[in-house]
Symmetry: C2
Subunit: 305 residues, 2 copies
Amino acid sequence: MSRRTALGPGDDCAILAPSRAPRLFTIDSMVEDVHFRLGWGTPEKLGAKSLAVNLSDIAAMGGRPTACVVNLAVRAGLDMRFFERLYAGMRSLARATKVDIVGGNVTRADKLGITVALLGEVGAAAMRRDSARPGDEIFVTGTLGDSALGLRILAGKLSAPGKTRRALVERHLSPTARLAAGLALARMRPVPTAIDISDGLVQDLGHIAERSEVGAEIDATQIPVSKEYRTVMGDDLSLALGGGEDYELLFCLRPGRSEAELGRRLGVQVRRIGTIVRGRRVLVRNARGRTQPEVAGWDQLRGRL
Amino acid sequence: MSRRTALGPGDDCAILAPSRAPRLFTIDSMVEDVHFRLGWGTPEKLGAKSLAVNLSDIAAMGGRPTACVVNLAVRAGLDMRFFERLYAGMRSLARATKVDIVGGNVTRADKLGITVALLGEVGAAAMRRDSARPGDEIFVTGTLGDSALGLRILAGKLSAPGKTRRALVERHLSPTARLAAGLALARMRPVPTAIDISDGLVQDLGHIAERSEVGAEIDATQIPVSKEYRTVMGDDLSLALGGGEDYELLFCLRPGRSEAELGRRLGVQVRRIGTIVRGRRVLVRNARGRTQPEVAGWDQLRGRL
């Protein structure tokens, strides 16, 4: 526990020291047979991922995570060793990202479920979804679609050669929240517009479009994909556009920043993929013209493993 | 939303204004067929209760609740109207207790589950579980065992005449978090030791005993029960001692306070039920002597509806 935590687990509530910074607050959940199947990865990776998906929300606002509470829904058939390993994975990522796990609750259920509520702090200005303007350039960190491919491999819907398979599966099981990139972005002025890509590029860009009351045009040739993605998908960009669970940052800036400058600043590969325009629609431009993509993204209410 | 909330739902995180007070942080969950069955009460009552069980944790620390995030695990077969009503019930209690619902997340699941993570603020000193000393007197608010009876009536394991039935069922479906009593208690010096009774009197007193490294002796003749409890249970105190989900406050004070004075101060009936002693055991004294009660309390991992 850091000095920010006055009282950790074991009482009715945790007590956190006062803080002068505005606070961020978010919650996210992973449910067995909806978001994961047991046996796909280790309990440690599952524990870490259930924290990482929340860290990604803090990263998207440009904040620093501080403290979390965990609700564990446990089912019959899982032994204490399983939960020790799950918790060890979560604790290890928490330590690496300076998060105190300050409390929790355990309940019975039919399926394993891990819900994390995470607090963070943010400096003078948080990055929001509602500040994009026509003319802004749209950027994305890392590569897209790898996690969706890893999921399909794990679900037995797709096969890939050994090394490719391992790389894609790892992207799915162990996503990296772009915390350092988020902090670097939030120091820029004017403050960028940002979101993390959890539902899929087109759907999450749609969230920026909706909240900012703008449209967006993506250049399909600029979508960053990994060599593993190319190996499996060739020129098919559908999972890079709508796969989901990338946990990369999607952000919009006033024009004039180079990919190279941003990459140095953020410590991660950055690609310019399009432009904010008037209107409300998210369009993808490729050799055949501009189309409104039909990718549904990862809609959690309809999604199937 | 209050002025404490700079940005509510709709972005990656909520943004809360800075605060100079120490903060409380807690999480609790209600799962279908573990904590409730649909059809037992209205969706509104279910929504309110899933917030109330968290408010009770803030009350037990002597704090003021401020903001919450909600994770909703939804299953097939429940329509939008159901969730609107559930949310209306939660929002209504949130408004009454000055809580901002600042964010949420929705996931699919096999069973309905409502998880609330709640923040609060606390004044100079929070009430903890670890400060009881031998000689302290043990008090409890309200009456005990009603909720456990209501649960058994709802589960069809018990019957009761109409008015009694309705009163007991209502105690189970619509618990009241003792927020005002908690605030009043936390202003006393020395700061009381406190916990809310969610697992059952004996089990929760055991939590105080464990954290404070003391024992406790309860006088069975002083356990407060309602006339509805007497109607159904007669002299059997087992559900008052170990029923659970009372959401009353259990607290320990240096000797010398009268029930009447405390009742006025806390705005609720207060009963002195025993004394903190040396040792580690929680004993119940009745006409036949002192015994270690066998009530297991509401152990969520073993409990069955």
